[in-house]
């Protein structure tokens, strides 16, 4: 399996065909014969006091928040990573970006566009291939004007080129020039979301990792907001959409990766969520049953997954 990523068979998979522990959607492409992003056996652990030992004799030991996680993103698709809030999904995003907590132990194989990554090469693709769309306006410097922040200070292109690109993006997303002189706290929710997207698109990425990009929006608005990601994917990019909202994921994504207890328990085409029979893992089945149109039933195997998404 380790070598598989390198010498990938150069053919398109058919709908719902299984390979690499996942099934494909129509839009999933293996450009140049590999996944756009492939994560294998990723683990992220922290030193914590042993919660089982008594208070005073407790030793610190490793506790894994992400535990042997594997997932792939193809060119042209949106993969939604669905899991409960606070279950470590942001840590997954940070790890793919190569932003590790100082006290974290991180193991795993990350392949981006056919290359095996290490810490240095991950730093190289940050903002130069992989771009992050963060959750909220708190990801902008509160003391710097928005226009300047979107333009960034990257080495790619002169300041004038970046300004032109920013103008083009602002125009495309209906942000007026007056938005450039605002400070982050002065942005409305909708503006903030588009500004954050523009930040990511400034760098012309191949892969976008969107970490809960539609907080507080109701489903229909959120789906609308994600149309921009759809068009990005349709143009050949890949999107990893991290969310706690399974309904939203089913509406906009091509494939769903079910995140539970630090691992992806099932990675499957959205089509397979049509009936619980095409789902393999009991937790996925439980998720299916918990959907509103299926009567919020908790009959499935919820004991296997106490932390169903909320």
């Amino acid at each position: 399996m380790l070598e598989d990523g390198k010498r990938e068979r150069a053919h398109d998979h058919t709908q719902a065909e299984s390979h690499h522990h996942h099934t494909h959607a129509k839009t999933s492409h293996h450009v140049r014969g590999h996944h756009l992003l492939q994560v294998s056996n990723l683990s992220v652990g922290f030193r914590m006091y042993d919660p089982d030992a008594s208070f005073f004799s407790a030793e610190q030991r490793m506790s894994y928040v992400i535990d042997d996680l594997s997932i792939s993103v193809h060119a042209g698709e949106i993969v939604a990573v669905v899991g409960a809030s606070g279950s470590g999904k942001t840590l997954l995003a940070d790890s793919i970006m190569g932003l590790f907590e100082p006290n974290a132990e991180v193991r795993g194989e990350l392949w981006f566009d056919g290359e095996l990554m290490d810490q240095a090469s991950l730093a190289g693709v940050r903002g130069h291939g992989i771009s992050l769309v963060p959750q909220s306006v708190s990801h902008l410097d509160p003391l710097m004007r928005v226009g300047k922040q979107v333009e960034g200070f990257g080495s790619a292109g002169s300041a004038a080129e970046r300004r032109a690109r920013r103008r083009e993006l602002f125009e495309r997303y209906g942000l007026g020039d007056e938005a450039t002189v605002l400070y982050p706290h002065e942005l409305s929710g909708g503006m903030a979301r588009r500004v954050l997207l523009c930040c990511a698109l400034m760098d012309d990425p191949k892969l976008i990792i969107a970490d809960e990009p539609t907080p507080g929006l109701d489903l229909d608005l959120a789906v609308k907001a994600l149309a921009d990601f759809r068009s990005f994917a349709d143009a050949g990019g890949g999107v990893m959409l991290i969310t706690h909202d399974i309904e939203l994921a089913l509406r906009v994504a091509d494939r769903i990766a079910v995140f539970k207890d630090g691992a992806i328990v099932e990675e499957t085409a959205v089509a397979n969520f049509a009936t619980p029979d095409t789902l393999e893992h009991p937790f996925s089945k439980a998720l299916w049953h918990a959907l509103p149109e299926h009567g919020f039933s908790v009959e499935g195997d919820v004991s296997a997954g106490g932390d169903a998404p909320c």
Binding site: N41, S43, G45, F46, R47, M48, Y49, F55, F56, S57, A58, E59, Q60, D68, S95, G98, F100, P102, N103, A104, E105, V106, R107, G108, E109, L110, D118, Q119, L122
Partner: protein, 300 residues
């Protein structure tokens, strides 16, 4: 996964070792709470020893021996002797003991004042809160040392003057902390629930508020000790407070100033160093205590 694999070794284990490492955690000293508690207790015991030794050596500290005047540190007199032949080791311990005792007393009084005022501010309604906040601002605005000087001047110097002065000047910052803590507690869910359940105010205060605020109070109190001791030493050094016949660190250092130009460096070096170490010991007790009691840092 082949069947034989799981029989030989846990498959996860063998696989795990072959996975490339992307990031190694920063190596940190592995501590457990036992070590934290031990260093806390150890420092407290050392401080107790200093105080007891100081009291035992009090007599020796004032005994002049004119046959052994102005001696450099030696095996007989580890810290040397002063111009009256008094042993500086004994004087240092006696002085530390005095300073620590006054500091402890003053810090306790200060902390109780802070608790009372914070409770008034947090529980006494908007107006009381505004008045207290204004007074805290006012007291924070008068430079600490000036306030110390004014109070000990008002009380005519002496031991009482110094103790009262230190007691009356250390409450403002702790008051702020405790006020915020009590306010947060009062507005918390569990107190609201208790009120809904019809518990009496006293019961709520005793069963919910006290356990909530107590850790902060204790940590705040212990962290006041070093400040109180240093300010006691400072105000004594300036010539307020204790009469010259009581060996206090401030007095010892202030006296040493006249002999510095004569090259008697040991008069100032050792007592000061001892004071620094004592204050650091208090810091150790305080910060370790906080690590144990304060949930915010309990994973460190």
């Amino acid at each position: 996964m082949g069947k034989w694999n799981s029989a030989a070794l846990h498959p996860r284990e063998t696989q795990f070792m072959s996975i490339p490492v992307l990031h190694v955690p920063l190596r940190r000293r592995v501590t457990n709470r036992k070590v934290t508690v031990a260093s806390c207790i150890g420092a407290a015991v050392l401080l107790a020893i200093v105080v007891v030794a100081g009291q035992l050596l009090a007599g020796q500290a004032v005994t002049a021996d004119f046959s052994a005047k102005s001696l450099m540190p030696s095996a007989d007199h580890l810290f040397g002797t002063d111009w009256m032949g008094r042993d500086m080791l004994a004087r240092t311990f006696a002085g530390l003991s005095t300073s620590v005792l006054i500091g402890l007393l003053a810090a306790c009084v200060s902390a109780l004042i802070a608790l009372a005022i914070a409770a008034i501010a947090a529980l006494g309604g908007k107006r009381a809160d505004a008045v207290v906040t204004w007074f805290v601002d006012l007291f924070m605005g008068i430079p600490h040392i000036v306030m110390l000087i004014l109070i000990s001047y008002a009380l005519g110097k002496g031991v009482v003057g110094v103790t009262v002065a230190v007691s009356l000047t250390h409450w403002p910052s702790l008051t702020r902390v405790l006020r915020a803590e009590i306010l947060q507690c009062r507005e918390s869910q569990f107190v609201a629930h208790a009120q809904k359940l019809g518990q009496s105010r006293l019961r709520i205060a005793l069963t919910h508020m006290v356990p909530y605020v107590l850790p902060q109070f204790i940590v705040g109190l212990v962290l006041l000790f070093p400040h109180a001791i240093m300010h006691e030493a400072a105000i004594t050094f300036l010539g307020f407070g204790l009469p010259p016949d009581i060996p206090a660190i401030g007095i010892i250092l202030s006296e040493s100033m006249s002999y510095l130009s004569a090259g008697m460096w040991w008069l100032a070096l050792f007592p000061g160093l001892a004071l620094v170490l004592t204050v650091m010991l208090f810091d150790v007790v305080g910060s370790n205590l906080r690590r144990i009691l304060d949930p915010h840092s309990s994973q460190e």
